[in-house]
Assembly symmetry: D2
Homo-oligomer: 369 residues x 4
């Protein structure tokens, strides 16, 4: 039977979810979902028509409560994540939520607890970059032992959307409005990738920086509260070590989610700005091999049988949507759900709080308890 | 009022058309098309359900004739292009046809003539690579004079799908079954790009090669009839010159549609294997600048507001679909239609026939007349 | 016993020869050559001191005739090549000459004939790019069959030293003063590489262009006589085919000597602008492997035991010098000597004369005879 | 008057110094140095002949004391650096020493003190990578304000010379024999680059790892004592922050000295494996521009007038040699001398000792005092 879908939000990620819901069955087969209702503060009817939803509403609670709705896509600003996700879980719905879960770790904890209390409902967080064919191929290569034991990780996620010092102040730059800064926008993505490749984190030591402490506003200069950039050292539970860096003020970087894994028998290198190339080196080979995405990698073939033809950002979301549908259908578990999301956000909050002090993650878990 | 769509074929390009039809309004707005009927030789009902079409049929003629159908997407093997396109035009329908138009130039001519005889119906050929944001940005840069007068073109389109000498013989390797070889599969794409950037071609001189003259078949070795690769010198009507090369036996190349334009005041360089980077050099600058696709380029923003996040192959087709809808709606002309397609195919057939002899395109046109 | 060296010219290539002579024994061992005399039209004494030659003279004939001189390095403008090389050969000296041999094919023929008449004297032409470790590795890979039978060649050599339309007219742009244009400066290098990788050329068909027909001079605009760019189709004696392009007006290109070889079992790709990377693909591998230069490649280890540390342009000349010394010492033959140089120049002159007509090289040889 | 040179050592760096001494005047003009004496434990006479030195000796002290010697090049294993440098300084000679200065910080301190006590003698350490045209251009761009105020640094220096777990144990892997591990071999180079671009370091927090704790030896497995890799967070005195990583066990990396600087108005990116490209982005530009080395950059033109022709690793040393000669000649100061070298080594020793604890450099200086 077709899955009934409610979508809340029609911005960058709202449209991306809509495209995914519309194409998931076309790409992967199975019963196409029923696009039941779209909720947004304004123009919901027009957007519902554009996105192919049966109806639009400005009452998100009504959309969540609609008995024809099985799953809720939440793509609103971070401050609204908790009330909407809570409502959806309480209404018995599956939840597909954009990251980060919430503005504060306490909220994330409460959300994870609520999800745990509804074990029959699937939660999935929008960590897009886990779904690209190149990333999935990298994860599989490591799992297969192709590069031996992972010894070291180096990762950055840099963009430049706040690099201009004249960019006006916004509520997103406050703790109350935006939560964390670069760590919340970008850093959590890098953490999601890092732990998927390297396993759990045992300890972090981090520095943060506000590169532009004051920004112009109509009321004169105002203070930026959350970090423009962060750097961290990582000890993994496996004993491996890693370096970690993220910035929203790195001029010229657009989606520089770049990482490498050094294993005992090879290395992998990737850069999301060219998300269709995975660089692989195995001990004894003459150098790194550029592996373009293609049908020999996970999930690529469903989109295109021809290698080197380029997978796109939005298509990652179709894979994510397929994983969600499979999990709802009783099959394969998918993640990161809220529990794993809490682990990711615990790490970025530890980084934000570290100020050069080593923080052991298990102690933090105990403190929280 | 919603446009009624029939789709014929569910392979690589059939699915790609389906995704485009499903998402074009989500991405660009406007009334979503009505996915009326899907035709395929087998499993048409199941595929219609998967692709979200209202019905499926194994009778393509019926789909074309369906009065609720306004436009027909034709994605079948090349030998079927002419009968289907002819039928659709005669039934008063708009036609969206994958390239090349047909196996022979005579067929292409007849199709173009028929399209001319139905001036109120739009024809559009699936030259995907004309729709990527980087390509469109390149074309706009040249049109704006950013690199001065184009003096020279260098272009290749290489893949390796037939590189393995042990790849079995197939009917696609015959004139009767496949028409041209690399020129028909790949070369016509490169011609489409070349003339969009450089203007009309005046003369070509070409060599072709069959790198693997015989291939295994159940009946023993059989002859390959169409070219594995072709090389050409180009004289453009503008006086500029170009080099042109295409191969289906270039080991390691997956979608190497690589070109550069040398202008009197700068240069552009592009490679479809990294379709999200356009390299721009203007006289006086220190080197080439890598311009990642982003919302400052045509059509990117409708898919994603964030630069560097990667446009995908299939999304080119959504842009193409939007152009088709705009043209049908009475607005902007779009191309290449059948007349322009004939010009492209005239060029590749001239290359196939040249054997080192210079062929002037206008003479060819006269001969044809 | 130490080889006595005369060097004529102290410009770009003069200094490069001097560095090579000074370092060849340091790098490769053997008896250091004796830097006997440096000849230049002006400042010969000062330059001799700077370059470490025992004496300087403004009389190149005297340098050539000096009985202590065994070998003459000729690095003067092309119009002087023939008289100097002839004099050196007639004086019984070995000759190391920068390319091209001369302004006209007739001169090149005469020089080759004279060299043939002095079989005991080594001639070597300065085709630097044949001596880089990456190129040598490529040639060895092909020879070893690593990529199977070479089926196709694609090569360009583009620079932008004349790209600016306001660049003043110079005598180098005339037939009498400069001989060929881009073909003489750049194209001959590309031919040298092409035939070393692919074997002899059977036929060429070429176009040439003068992108900037008139250039400013103190006497008003003057005509440019030799080509700014050339394009060619190549038939190799082996049956393989190739495309060939060269330009001195390609904005942004600095030393874009880029080629690829498609073999029946793999491909090689190289770009002199990153001369320390050779890209290798063998059938069945996931993509191209970037092989950085290192001690596993020919001649690198003598300069540096550490891979990835970058070989430089000037160091190519040290390898060339070592090859010359070995040949003089009675050992390994080295090339291209004057006979091979004539073959190279026959090809570029055929390209210059082709104007779209196929020219068979053996016929040309017969015409010459 | 010509500078008298003694060279101690004929390995990787000994040959590199020899090439530099031989070519420095050829490249940059000035009086060629007099290559007086070469010292090595074995074959000194033969190596002196090969390298063009007047004599060879197995008595390095005699070479240092030779009254015809003005400057001593020391290229021996690290444990010999201090006695040789001390002897040279005490004998009144200038000293050109390969990095690091010594095995222990105490030795480095003593060497710096001795150099301070001989103010008329120049000391220079072999931090090659400071001399490449691309690096010098980067430093000049930052100094000129081209990218505004440097806000952040990311740097790695990875190689794979110890990546193979089966590589036998060696004395270089002990504190007594090799001093530090990756930090001493590679990390100090990265520090030299980092402080040249970003200014002084205020605080470091680091982790180190021994990826392969035991290695085979004829006597059975033996313990590796010094670090295979290190990671650090950096606080610069300017307030900027940086991340730092180095490894000798990074499979596939050959000379991956890769760094980027994020400024308030632009960014620079560099990778020593392609040392001829500097990537520059200024706010407002469409992306990063690849600036190939060329005569518009410092010191390139003296080697080659043609851009894009590739500077080599060994040529960095010729620039270093020129700087040394200029400093000795009473002119421009050059560095890093022993005092600056001590600062660099203080940083790597602080990293080695940190174990996750923040170490303020000025406190360390006080502790030392």
């Amino acid at each position: 039977m077709a899955l009934g879908v409610a979508l809340i939000g029609t911005g960058f990620m709202g449209k991306c979810h809509a495209m995914a819901w519309r194409n998931v069955a076309t790409v992967f087969g199975g019963t196409p979902p029923r696009l039941q209702v779209l909720a947004d503060a304004a123009d919901a009817g027009a957007m519902a028509a554009q996105f192919g939803f049966q109806s639009g509403t400005d009452d998100w609670q009504a959309a969540v409560d609609d008995p024809a709705v099985d799953v809720v896509s939440i793509t609103t600003p971070n401050a609204l994540h908790r009330p909407m996700a809570d409502a959806a879980l309480r209404a018995g719905k599956h939840v597909w939520l954009e990251k980060p879960m919430s503005l504060t770790l306490a909220d994330a904890q409460a959300m994870a607890d609520l999800a745990t209390a509804h074990p029959g409902q699937v939660t999935l967080l929008g960590y897009n970059y886990l779904r690209s064919p190149a990333f999935q191929a990298a994860r599989d290569l490591i799992a297969s032992g192709a590069i031996g034991r992972p010894r070291a990780f180096r990762g950055v996620y840099d963009e430049d959307y706040s690099a201009d010092p004249d960019l006006p102040w916004s509520w997103r730059m406050t703790h109350a409005g935006g939560g964390l800064g670069a760590l919340g926008d970008l850093g959590c993505h890098l953490v999601s990738v890092m732990i998927a490749l390297m396993g759990p984190v045992a300890e972090v030591t981090a520095l943060t920086d506000i590169a532009v402490p004051q920004r112009p506003s109509p009321d004169g200069p105002r203070q930026v509260e959350n970090e423009d950039s962060a750097l961290a050292l990582i000890r993994f539970a496996s004993g491996a070590q890693g370096s970690f860096a993220t910035s929203r003020v790195a001029h010229g970087r657009k989606c520089r989610l770049q990482w490498e894994v050094h294993g005992s028998e090879g290395s992998l290198v990737f850069d999301q700005e060219h998300m269709n190339a995975l660089w692989v080196h195995r001990a004894g080979e003459a150098g790194f091999t550029r592996h373009l995405t293609g049908p020999d990698q996970p999930d690529f073939a469903a989109f295109c049988p021809a290698p080197g033809h380029n997978f796109g950002f939005n298509e990652q979301k179709v894979v994510e949507c397929r994983d969600l549908i499979r999990a709802i259908g009783g099959g394969t578990p998918c993640g990161p759900g809220f529990a794993e999301g809490l682990a990711i956000e615990t790490i970025i909050h530890a980084m934000a709080a570290s100020d050069g002090r080593a923080i052991r993650l298990e102690e933090l878990a105990h403190e929280d308890a």
